[in-house]
């Protein structure tokens, strides 16, 4: 009995230490990767291809999720608010939730699934097939060549995606309100413009940049540190998606708490 309690405590302690160690390793990795963004040589081709991969090729999936989520918010709030001043309230709720939360969070989660996973798989494969070591032997710093361009690409691409997600989310709400609930389009647009604030949009974009950094960071870190062949690459990919999603939602809460609690 006492034995199993000590075992439990030992295991808990070990897990805690491992967690602290991992956190430190990730922080160091982030610092080194980030510092290489501003120091030459730069690799514009790799930046461009990962920018296209993150930004452009994520457009369809981000656009669709934003459109339907905006629509569903309009629909849900109609059921809740129909007795009161539905028209103006719905436009306001859609605009607020989309710009503050749904735009950045949905775009972030979609990109995590698409891009975070593929970064981890790419870099992980390079690690287990010695390609990362080969880079070092060919006068190329792998942190600079593999990590820095991907971090930068995601930091820039995510806010751009979120601008589009914001627009389409609001448009989704508009379509449901006008075509399904029969609201007047002009009144809905006026109400939308009235509730749209620069602060909401800006902080949404700041969140997006932070999420982009996180997604690329976790993809790169898990890939870079993967071992044990193909199986290791598989678990690195899973770990990249899971850790990035959890961190993303945690930071979303913290940023919201920091800027919107007055």
């Amino acid at each position: 009995m006492i034995n199993s309690v000590t075992n439990l405590i030992t295991n808990l302690g070990r897990a805690t230490l491992a967690l602290i160690h991992e956190t430190g390793a990730i922080a160091l990795f982030a610092f080194v990767g980030f510092s290489h963004i501003v120091r030459p040589p730069f690799y514009p081709r790799i930046f461009l291809s990962s920018f296209l991969e993150t930004g452009f090729f994520s457009l369809p999936v981000v656009a669709l999720t934003a459109l339907f989520s905006g629509g569903v918010i309009a629909l849900q709030s109609y059921t809740g608010f129909s007795q009161y001043h539905a028209q103006s309230a719905i436009a306001g709720i859609v605009t607020l939730t989309v710009t503050r939360e749904l735009g950045p969070v949905l775009a972030g989660l979609m990109v995590t699934g698409r891009v975070g996973a593929s970064i981890a798989a790419q870099i992980g494969t390079m690690r287990v097939t010695d390609q990362i070591d080969a880079l070092s032997t060919l006068s190329t710093n792998p942190m600079k060549y593999l990590v820095a361009p991907r971090l930068l690409a995601a930091i820039i691409a995510l806010p751009l995606l979120v601008i589009i997600a914001d627009i389409l989310g609001v448009a989704g709400g508009f379509m449901v309100a006008v075509f399904k609930l029969g609201f007047s389009p002009t009144a809905y647009i006026t109400a939308t413009l009235n509730s749209l604030t620069q602060k909401d949009v800006t902080i949404g974009l700041v969140k997006a940049a932070v999420f982009g950094f996180l997604i690329a960071l976790m993809g790169c870190y898990q890939g870079y540190t993967s071992k044990n062949g193909a199986e290791g690459v598989g678990s690195a990919t899973t770990a990249a998606v899971v850790t990035a999603s959890i961190l993303l939602l945690t930071l979303d809460y913290l940023i919201t708490d920091l800027f919107f609690s007055y």
Binding site: Q122, T125, M126, D133, S139
Partner: protein, 264 residues
């Protein structure tokens, strides 16, 4: 070091130790490789051969010991000097380790482009010359590594390793996984490249025929220790019980074989 009366060996390794946790992988390894020689290290799987190469390449830091290239200790030099040292080394990895996102020609000229030794516009043409040196057609230049056979990948890896004309070349199991004929061709190419550039080479192999073709000198690594060293030509009749068992692939002898009860 120029004041020293005798020329230091190209590579001098002294008392090199490396452990992972409780597991000792390299145990007091000492070795001299004179300039211009091809040195072969044999040893069974897991004996620490790749770890030794990684330490020499600066990809791993040994726990203790000394590594000198041309009399210069490379373990405690500045980061910048370490880079210069790395520029002098060419490496062919165990599975070629070609960059699979880049076409063959960019793989081959990667080191040259990284150091801006040739302009980007000339890189493809230069790659074709290098490919010709390892017996590959220039049609291969635009293929991706995944489209090549194992033997072709090894050749491309070799072309990439010699592209910058390094004076030290490392080969990690250059013929493993190839048929005997292709293996022999790769060995010839290695000998050719080493002699042509006057490089010093260190090769790791399990393949006795290959070891004797590539090597001038040979040594055997067993459980992290160098247990024998001598001319590569005498590998098959070394007189050392361990080496004999290994080179002749006997199940009886001092090396215990898993799943087999040996009587020493």
């Amino acid at each position: 070091m120029t004041s020293s009366p005798t020329i230091p060996p190209k590579i001098r390794i002294r008392d090199l130790c490396k452990s992972f946790g409780a597991k000792t992988v390299l145990d007091d390894v000492s070795l001299d490789i004179p300039a211009g020689t091809s040195f072969v290290i044999i040893g069974s799987s897991g004996s620490g051969k790749s770890v030794l190469l990684r330490c020499l390449l600066g990809l791993m830091t040994p726990d203790s010991g000394l590594i000198e290239f041309d009399g210069e200790n490379i373990l405690n030099v500045s980061a910048k000097r370490q880079k210069d040292v790395q520029h002098r080394i060419g490496m062919l990895f165990q599975n070629a380790a070609l960059f699979d996102s880049l076409p063959v020609w960019e793989n081959v000229t990667f080191g040259l482009l990284a150091r801006k030794l040739i302009p980007y516009r000339q890189a493809r043409a230069h790659a074709c010359t290098l490919l010709a040196q390892v017996g590959l057609d220039s049609a291969v230049a635009d293929l991706y590594p995944a489209e090549l056979s194992g033997g072709m990948q090894k050749r491309v890896g070799l072309a990439r390793a010699i592209a910058t004309k390094p004076d030290i070349l490392f080969f990690d199991e250059p013929t493993t996984g190839l048929d005997p004929l292709t293996g022999a061709v790769i060995d010839d190419l290695i000998v050719d490249c080493v002699k042509k550039n006057g490089s010093t080479a260190l090769a790791i192999t399990h393949d006795m025929a290959s070891a004797q073709r590539i090597g001038d000198e040979a040594a055997m690594l067993y459980q992290g220790r160098l247990i024998w060293q001598g001319p590569a030509a005498s590998l098959m009749e070394s007189g050392n019980a361990y080496v004999d068992q290994f080179t002749h692939g006997r199940s009886q002898g001092p090396i215990p074989i898993e799943g087999c009860h040996s009587q020493a």
